[in-house]
Amino acid sequence: MTPLLKVENVSKYYGNRLGCRDVSFELYPGEVLGIVGESGSGKSTLLNCLAGHLEPDTGEVVFDTRANGPKDTVTMSEPERRMLSRTDWAFVHQNPRDGLRMSVSAGGNVGERLMAVGARHYGNIRSTAIDWLDKVEINEDRTDDRPSEFSGGMQQRLQIARNLVTGPRLIFMDEPTGGLDVSVQARLLDLLRGLVRELGLSAIVVTHDLAVVRLLADRLMVMKDGHVIETGLTDQVLDDPQHGYTQLLVSSVLQV
């Protein structure tokens, strides 16, 4: 089986400051990889390097493209990379404002990616958008409302619908449940789990919430000071952590 994403020795520096260093891993179709670490550990830098938002200083990010098989997204042309990020990739931002057009209706937000890849039939675009709004539990009668009129949880679900409408194969998530009420978090987690299973999506989830990765991620990568210090099955890393920092991290979680 070809990995969907093969990351090799990715490093990123901000001047002299280290973002992340020598990160390598493989992600297979249908897998959800969690990346945990505290603020400044380099997990967001890594995610942005993988998703093409930042250019790594060294390393390869090889994606198994539909048309041409494995290709290094770092060295591919910008139009090609941007095309990927509109079609096969999705990026769910922590703050829905970063991932939505707040002045465009919910339907328009979902429809944008369709129009970006050439859809020109209003009726079809709209029915697909409504279909996806339904999948993320947003009622059809909210289709023409702007996201600024939505609650935080609804905005996040809208962002997910907007991202998934073109049937991506890899979804990047940056703290997808951060900033949401716990009750809303639970619903979102269940939604994401269902979508990942039903659509066979692969996902990379960056978070500092260990409870979130336990429920969402198959595998876990722990980062500290720009380095990956531990990887493994999520439950194994959380229940039998090998690295001192991971042990500290796991033992610091408050029990409810």
Partner: protein, 290 residues
């Protein structure tokens, strides 16, 4: 002509700079060429971009016509005409057919333009993607990579909200299947006229952009398969000249709200009335003058 000014106000170096931008614009139809817009002796929003383009195009033999919303007799049109009479000594006219250079704000003349004529548009905001994507860096990249999905989002929003494409002016067009362009705030009624024999030049003074359409360039108004572009237009004939194919202005006649619709293109209306066409509320031309 006042000889204390260089011909047509701008110095020759500036004109050369603008001409280079114009040539580049002609070579890449619909592409926005940055240029070093000068301070002009009029405020932004009064046609500083158009005036600079006109100044760079004018030669002493030219005959200039200036219209504002189709009319030759509004303050803006009169002022710009006088400006070039004073600084360039060029001949001016109100007759579309006689003019070699026509500067316009918000309209295209009704009468078809011919080869050899130049139509100069005043443009307030040249970037059609601006209202959806505020970042200039991003919009330039979108043009470069032909990422125009966002333009359709605007039209989608129109249909979702109003049931039809409600954008009625500055209606976005695609040039020769490549660049999406803002046609300046002309009514969409004028969009089909843009595939014309004359050279069309666009100047945005405040935004420092020039773009152009060479004669007979393909100009397609964006739309959806199930909501095709419609140019729209008046439901009735001009009250003065009875024209049924012209873009009309609504005029309120009295405090009771009596209205009449007249051609926005004043020269077109005059020519028709001279030829003997009389609208419902019109009178023969001779009596009107008396």
């Amino acid at each position: 002509m006042n000889t204390e000014y260089n011909f047509a106000y701008l110095d020759e170096q500036t004109k050369r700079m603008i001409r280079r931008a114009l040539l580049k614009g002609v070579a890449i139809p619909g592409y926005q060429v940055p240029f070093a817009s000068r301070e002009m002796p009029m405020p932004y929003g009064w046609g500083t971009g158009g005036v600079q383009v006109t100044a760079a195009c004018l030669v002493p033999d030219d005959i200039l016509k200036v219209i504002d919303q189709g009319a030759d007799d509004t303050t803006n049109a009169v002022s710009i005409r006088k400006f070039f009479e004073k600084t360039g000594g060029v001949k001016v006219t109100e007759e579309t057919a006689k003019a070699t250079v026509i500067q316009t704000r918000h309209r295209i003349p009704e009468a078809a333009l011919t080869e050899g004529q130049i139509l100069v548009y005043q443009v307030p905001i040249p970037e059609p993607l601006r209202f959806l994507e505020p970042s200039e860096v991003e919009t330039r990249k979108m043009h470069a990579l032909e990422e125009y999905g966002l333009m359709h989002v605007k039209l989608y929003e129109d249909i979702a909200r109003h049931g039809h494409i409600a954008t009625s002016y500055a209606y976005p067009v695609k040039i020769e299947g490549r660049y999406v362009m803002d046609p300046s705030p002309i009514p969409k009624f004028d969009n089909p006229k843009m595939e014309m024999a004359a050279l069309q030049l666009f100047g945005a003074g405040r935004e420092q952009r020039i773009y152009a359409l060479p004669p007979y360039t393909q100009v397609v108004s964006l739309d959806f398969e199930d909501y095709p572009f419609e140019k729209g237009g008046a439901q009735q004939a001009c009250g003065l000249c009875a024209a049924e194919d012209a873009y009309l202005d609504e005029v309120i006649m009295d405090d009771a709200g009596t209205r009449m619709f007249v051609c926005s293109d004043t020269d077109y209306c005059r020519v028709r009335r001279e030829a003997g066409h009389i609208g419902e509320m019109g009178v023969p031309l001779a009596e009107d003058a008396a």
